[in-house]
């Protein structure tokens, strides 16, 4: 009963917190709300007309939505990997990063789910998936696995920070015996969500471009580069705009993780390219399309080459301590890496899987305005959710909002 009362008070305080802020904060939230509304309006068009409002066709049947979904699963997984050093190794540096990381994970997961729903042909029939009242094709379908692991992960990532915040809110110290097992679970789970999402593609013998044993590990490597890179950028912003203290060493430690992951990712990329182009087989044709275009169809070329150049430049630069330890440059490099991996794990992965089609047909895919607007709307929603979570979390952490016993 008491917990409930504390929770109610926390929610009330959170409401107060998120509705108050300086001018920049209000503008930021207003802009996000506007983009969200615009995305919702476009989604209503899509609901009305069906998925023909998007650029997807029978030939390329997954596009921008699933690309973003795939990428964001990685972000969600990586955000939590920072939890381990902070809570278990008692590495104080990471503590602040963790709160942000878990908030980021929650926001990314909600975006994932939103992207999946946006991609459905019959969102009204989604209850067919609910175990118990629908029919759930478990364990055969990897999508069923994915639904389970994503929702489970969301649950874990809401409960742990909530527990910690609740304790802090009451001025108590969180009991490690309560949350450490949860932290361990979430770390394993983070690897799990990413592997399962990779298996979703990897398990399709029909699509040689995805049917590749390296896909899962590469997902992990790229996620551990992109996720923490995003965290660094977010921490930099928070440091600038709030009184929340993030020491330089925290950011530098995270940049180590980014660097190592980016290096591994690059090695795997080279291995993949070698396999596809040293002795090209019939199955390399999607890779040829992606990197060089086929029969004059070259829609993906600018994207993938941008991605590769950004990736290579950022990874090489990060490798040098001197460059990496200059924070201004580090932020830029993290931004580059983030964009590079967004292209590579999104567009660069999903679309070529369908091109050429099973009978060699090359039909290209271009997202429509509706599709892009919905996508932007969902990203805005993610940023909105994250801002709310982070603002409340920081206020509680800093002791600005505390539970007042009446």
């Amino acid at each position: 009963m008491k917990t409930l009362k504390v929770f109610r008070s926390l929610v009330k305080d959170a409401m107060l917190e998120v509705t108050h802020g300086n001018r920049a904060y209000h503008i930021w939230m207003a802009v996000l709300s506007f983009i969200m509304l615009f995305g919702m309006y476009n989604y209503s068009i899509q609901l009305d007309e069906g998925l023909s409002a998007t650029g997807m066709t029978d030939r390329v049947s997954w596009g921008l939505y699933i690309s973003n979904f795939t990428f964001l699963v990685g972000v969600a997984a990586a955000a939590v990997m920072l939890v381990l050093p902070a809570y278990v190794l008692k590495n104080v540096d990471f503590k602040q990063a963790v709160l942000i990381g878990e908030g980021l994970a929650v926001a990314a997961l909600l975006m994932c789910l939103a992207f999946v729903v946006a991609d459905m042909g019959g969102p009204a029939r989604l209850w067919h998936m609910i175990p118990g009242i629908g029919v759930f094709n478990f364990p055969n379908s990897m999508l069923a696995w994915d639904v389970i692991v994503l929702n489970g992960y969301l649950f874990i990532n809401i409960t742990i920070p909530l527990y910690i915040l609740m304790m802090r809110y009451q001025g108590k110290t969180p009991n490690p015996k309560v949350y450490i097992p949860g932290v361990f679970l979430s770390v394993f789970w983070a690897v799990g969500i990413h592997m399962v999402t990779a298996f979703l593609y990897q398990g399709l013998q029909a699509r040689p471009f995805w049917n590749n044993a390296l896909l899962g590990p590469r997902f992990l490597a790229s996620a551990f580069a992109a996720g923490p890179a995003l965290i660094i950028i977010v921490l930099a912003i928070i440091r600038k705009f709030t009184s929340f203290k993030v020491p330089d060493t925290t950011i530098k430690k995270i940049s180590m993780i980014v660097t190592v992951a980016a290096q591994i990712n690059l090695i795997m990329l080279i291995s993949e390219l070698f396999k596809e182009f040293y002795a090209p087989t019939h199955h390399s044709i999607s890779a040829v399309y992606l990197f060089f275009g086929l029969n004059g169809k070259t829609a993906l070329l600018p994207w993938i080459w941008t991605s590769i150049s950004l990736n290579v430049i950022a990874t090489i630069a990060l490798t040098f301590h001197k460059i990496r330890n200059n924070l201004k440059i580090l932020y830029v490099l993290c931004g580059m890496l983030f964009v590079a991996i967004w292209i590579e794990k999104g567009f660069g992965l999903i679309v070529p899987g369908f091109i050429p089609g099973p009978w060699g047909k090359i039909a290209e895919y271009t997202p429509t305005f509706v599709e892009i607007s919905v996508t932007l709307g969902i990203w805005a929603m993610g940023a909105f959710i994250f801002t709310i979570l982070a603002k409340t979390g920081i206020a509680v952490e800093l002791g600005q909002r505390v539970y007042k016993k009446k």
Partner: protein, 350 residues
């Protein structure tokens, strides 16, 4: 089917063959002949009850919100009331595979009645189950096909496919003679007089694999293999995720990107629940070997329409069928056999 019955080469990929021939992996619903319930059946029945509860709860919410005025109000006409009722029941019905015969009859009644209410016309819809000792297969004679595409047109008419986007289940690939089966360079969208010089033709469609990858991946079991080997989709259960489409190595599946349009005059009124009944937007569909015909002992529309006799359809378990004669006497092959999907669709040449 047991292995003795199998008359074709199959890859031994160390897959443990399920003993029941039905791909759905359970013995309930359309795949059941036993009257008695086994344990699994009873478990699978639970969802139906839970769904009833779910339905009631939702109804409670909606009535609270005043959203079901039309179906509850006394003012609106009987017909619109009935329509709303049908929509309501249809929305909450279960997966066809798990329905009892009674439930199947009910949904068929609702669907025909709703069509009548909408258009004033009657249609007949069947929910006929697979027959014993039947396993359908198909053979295609590459030497005979001239690319006339009569099969494609017959298929579109028979199966009520969307006319606006010209959805077609069958693709005819025009290939260059002397280049062999080179799908990459073939053209599946030609508009010229056939047979064109120096070309040969080959048709593809859903191959009704014995080991269908699309069925495995569907998160809600909206698609499955029937006892007679036909891979079907429950259009009302599909949530439109298109995972099955990504999983199909043969480009056999089609998606309704928008509401399909078939002029009322052209609607084929002889329908089957799992076959050519009218679809809605956002669901998957594909060739069903014209289940509304084949289960009545007829040939699929494409076989009937083919002017050259390139197409043969029949029961693989009947030793006297034409298809068996072809498998026994011709040098047959299948496409992408290395994937282990075991299509029930063979090609051969004279």
């Amino acid at each position: 089917m047991s292995n003795e019955n199998k008359k074709w080469f199959s890859l031994n990929l160390n897959r443990s063959k399920k003993t029941d021939s039905c791909g759905c992996g359970n013995n309930s619903g359309s795949c059941s002949d036993q009257k008695e319930k086994d344990g699994y059946d009873q478990i699978m029945d639970v969802p139906m009850d839970r769904r009833a509860a779910f339905k009631k709860i939702t109804a409670g919410f909606l009535i609270g919100a005043g959203a079901v005025n039309s179906s509850c109000s006394v003012i609106s006409g009987d017909e619109s009331k009935e329509k709303a009722n049908i929509e309501w029941e249809e929305y909450f019905k279960g997966n066809y595979k798990l329905m009892t015969n009674e439930e199947k009859d009910k949904t068929v009644d609702r669907l025909t009645r709703s069509y009548e209410l909408r258009t004033g016309k009657n249609l007949s819809m069947s929910s006929k189950d697979a027959e014993e000792d039947v396993l359908f297969g198909y053979a295609f004679n590459i030497s005979k096909c001239q690319g006339y595409m009569d099969c494609v047109n017959a298929c579109v008419e028979e199966n009520n496919q969307d006319r606006a986007t010209e959805m077609q289940y069958i693709r005819i690939h025009e290939m260059d003679e002397g280049k062999g089966f080179n799908f990459e360079e073939s053209d599946d969208n030609y508009y010229h007089e056939v047979p064109a010089d120096g070309h040969f033709y080959m048709g593809t469609q859903c191959f009704h694999c014995d080991n269908p990858p699309c069925v495995e991946v569907c998160p809600v079991q909206a698609t499955w293999k029937e006892k007679d080997g036909i891979v079907v989709i429950d259009y009302d259960w599909c949530i439109g995720c298109r995972y099955c489409m990504a999983a199909c190595p043969y480009d056999g599946r089609r998606f309704n990107w928008k509401t399909p349009e078939v002029p009322e005059k052209e609607v084929n009124k002889k329908q089957h629940y799992l076959g050519n009944r009218l679809r809605k937007k956002g669901v998957m569909e594909k060739c069903t070997f014209c289940i509304q015909r084949s289960r009545e002992g007829q040939n699929p529309a494409c076989v009937e329409a083919c002017p050259t006799g390139s197409r043969t359809f029949g029961n693989l378990l009947d030793p006297k069928s034409n298809i068996r004669w072809i498998l026994d006497n011709k040098k047959v092959f299948r496409l992408k056999e290395d994937l282990g999907t075991e299509p029930k669709f063979w090609y051969y040449m004279d």
